[in-house]
Symmetry: C2
């Protein structure tokens, strides 16, 4: 015999399946003696409810979806770790979908989510995404969504982000306080709001400290390799920066490789600061001063907000959370 079903138990005890169903969930309509009998048999036979059937009937999937651009080595592992833990704690499970930073794949993923009847969705947008219509139009009526990290701010959307502008300002303030003047800024993809905000903060802080004339030390890089290559080129010029700010771990990794290859000493010849999840900076020599942007905290906050939405616990309509960041001062500046 294959899997034990409610029908099997019912047949064995010569009762109706509905009685078994109610007995197993302690329904008051069933007598104590009958409950005990049924629960005993269920236990003996090793009955396991068919959740597939339950979810089908209740039109619940028991699943939370997570769409991310790509599982890299820095930020998203921490996000995923947090989300998986909390999703499981709430009795759900986690489905992961990668968009590979392609709008097309993101749309496909949105469809998959819809067809799976996911109970909730967490999204970090691809760099190609310019609006979130493919999520809101079709899905959001019944499926709560929380956007995090790479988001597009709209008033109907729940989001979890950090104050990107402030994070960059904090970094530059630190450099300025330490006396660095020729500050280079390395940024990610231009389309992203986080890039724009961090760059805005960067420029704002430079302006405040009257250092803006060194703005030519800035560039954008989508990949680690591009970051490395461009920074290596920058280091070949006649006028060199005395400090560099990178807006992510990924750009940091590229910049660091270029610095090592050039043989510059940190911080004597070049100071370094970045916004980071908080792992890589500790592995490097010297350790890198950074603004802590914890993927774990972002993931945790996003998924907790999602469950609040799912349980209608959120009174406020404007669910746009902003996490705190803080400076971790190490040896690189």
């Amino acid at each position: 015999m294959g899997r034990i079903t409610i029908k099997d138990i019912a047949k064995l005890l010569e009762v109706n399946p509905s009685t078994v169903s109610r007995a197993l969930k302690d329904h008051p309509d069933i007598s104590v003696s009958m409950k005990e009998k049924i629960q005993q048999v269920a236990k003996d036979l090793g009955y396991q409810p068919n959740y597939q059937a339950i979810r089908f009937r209740q039109n619940k999937s028991g699943l939370i979806g997570l769409i991310i651009p790509e599982m890299g080595m820095f930020f998203f592992p921490a996000v995923v770790k947090a989300i998986e833990e909390i999703v499981k704690k709430n009795g759900y499970n986690l489905i992961i979908l990668q968009s590979n930073d392609l709008l097309e794949k993101e749309k496909e993923n949105a469809l998959v989510c819809q067809n799976f009847g996911l109970d909730g969705l967490l999204v970090c947008l691809s760099k190609e995404t310019m609006d979130v219509g493919h999520f809101t139009e079709t899905i959001q009526r019944k499926m709560p969504i929380v956007f995090f990290d790479k988001v597009i701010q709209q008033k109907e959307c729940s989001t979890v982000v950090i104050n990107d502008e402030l994070a960059a300002i904090t970094a530059i303030n630190h450099l300025a306080r330490k006396g660095y003047k020729k500050i280079s800024g390395i940024f990610g993809n231009q389309n992203l709001e986080i890039t724009q905000s961090r760059k805005k903060g960067f420029l704002k802080a430079l302006t405040k400290h009257r250092l803006l004339h060194y703005g030519e030390f800035c560039f954008h890089a989508d990949t680690l390799e591009e970051s490395k290559r461009k920074f290596a080129e920058l280091l070949e010029q006649s006028v060199l920066p005395d400090a560099v700010f990178t807006m992510t771990d990924q750009t940091l990794a590229g910049v660091i490789q270029a610095i090592y290859e050039k043989g510059l000493s940190i911080p004597e010849e070049l100071a370094v600061i970045c916004i980071s999840n908080g792992n890589l900076p500790y592995y490097l020599n010297p350790q890198i001063t950074h603004i802590r942007h914890s993927g774990y905290a972002v993931g945790k906050t996003a998924v907790e907000l999602l469950f609040d939405l799912m349980n209608d616990k959120v009174v406020v309509s404007n669910n746009q959370l902003e996490l705190e960041t803080f400076l971790v001062e190490l040896d690189s500046c």
Copy 2:
């Protein structure tokens, strides 16, 4: 009106739902004219099949499960990336479960997989796991399983691993060839087969090169912090190693921190080699010579084997694959 179902289309066209179902999947029993009519209406109404219902009826979940100890920063992100890509390419989706290296949670996860009716399962065992009964007894009759990386070799199990012993031997041979003699070995959790195999290879190679009398430079460490602390202690002793081998990125990260803090120069005062996924070694200064153990390749191979099992494509009963590793010589030795 909510979601469009087959019944809705049937009612609209005054035909039977079964006709609609067959027409939509191009069944030969349905006339061409009827097919066209039905498919047109389905399109107009924006019909989306309820996969939940389909999977329920067919007793298929469309899901592949992945159980890992913990999403760290080094190996598993690459594994997950590969698996997600291939799973999706085959029309499935991926559920991720973390065991946190706890046998209890691993058992819970196995139950979840069962109840979800997953179509296939990929497992990297926790360090507490001593046998795989909680998988094989209950699940494997209907759900193919592939164990990878941290496995327990049994003849009924499909596994994907590397030749751990050979990887360690390759590393030590390289050190010996370069003239290093006092070789320290840093290993992960003792229970794991990968640890035992790598240590075995380490000792075997040391023996071959008549360097075994330096065996006191070895220890085990479960975490990055433990690795750092113990190696820092080791560096306080009177006799120091001239080279260190770490069996993972995680132990490498700890060892590197201890080396940096002590201010030793690599490779002049201390050579370094490791088995690595191939990211971290490039971020360090100098870059670390390593035996490449690609998480992406492991994940890809494991999930491809899984699909072969699911499609009964595997003729051989003994599905124990061993991936190639190779030496990447950089600056640390």
